[in-house]
């Protein structure tokens, strides 16, 4: 598989680029994870959130 080779040679071969990959990956992972868990929580609590019932009180 050529993809594995490309990934290895570009990202993992040098320690410096490996650490950079980890740091950038951590940033992306955190953002994505937060978005995902927020989305799950909000869709689970749909109808109970303040932004859903705000028009009743304003």
């Amino acid at each position: 598989m050529a993809l594995g080779n490309t990934v290895y040679n570009l990202l993992f071969k040098k320690t410096s680029s490996f650490m950079l990959t980890v740091a950038v990956g951590a940033f992306a992972f955190e953002r994505g994870f937060d978005k995902l868990t927020d989305y799950v929580w909000e869709s689970h609590n749909k109808g109970k959130l303040w932004r859903d019932i705000k028009d009743k009180y304003e």
Binding site: N5, Y8, N9, T21, E30
Partner: protein
Amino acid sequence: MQRLVQMVNPRGLCQNQLHLIRPLRMLAHSDIRTPDFSKYRRDRNPDKGQEETQRKAFTYMIAGGSSVVGMVCAKSVVNQFISSMSASADVLAMATIEVDLNLIPEGQSVTFKWRGKPLFIRHRTQKEIDTEQNTNISQLRDPQADSDRVKDPSWLVIIGICTHLGCVPIANAGDWGGYYCPCHGSHYDASGRIRKGPAPTNMEVPPYQFGDEGILIVG
């Protein structure tokens, strides 16, 4: 025997060292044949470098992936600990007060409570401003120019605690017409500076700023 020695040590050993090397001989169970492990070996295909890279890519992907998750976990733990040191919302809400300066007439000193301490806001008259600005600083116990203590000359904002032993001074009293501490007789002028009595320093000026429409924000 000689061939084996040459294989092990191509330069050749001395004759008296030959007894150190013995050919590996199976003395028992010589009928057992070595099993064939070739089925379990890594595929010795001609493109071996390719296969090795694939294997390493997988290994480093696992290592890198767990590092990513570990870094995110470590970051959130550190974040939790550090944010637990910051002030909570109720403390922050009490830390700042807003005062409507339009309600304070000229020549009056009004006391507010700010962070559990009395806060004096004084609307100074032009006469007081002139007196304080023309005071000779070198005569003062705690030399400080009036312009360093006020942002707007009309408004004096100080913490109303006597710097001697912490009593609350009385406004518009004392020999300099500013503040007078009844406990041990410290006289402050209309800039909150100590002029006479036991107090060692001027009254403290808190951080404040002027907002829109005559609102003063202290804190």
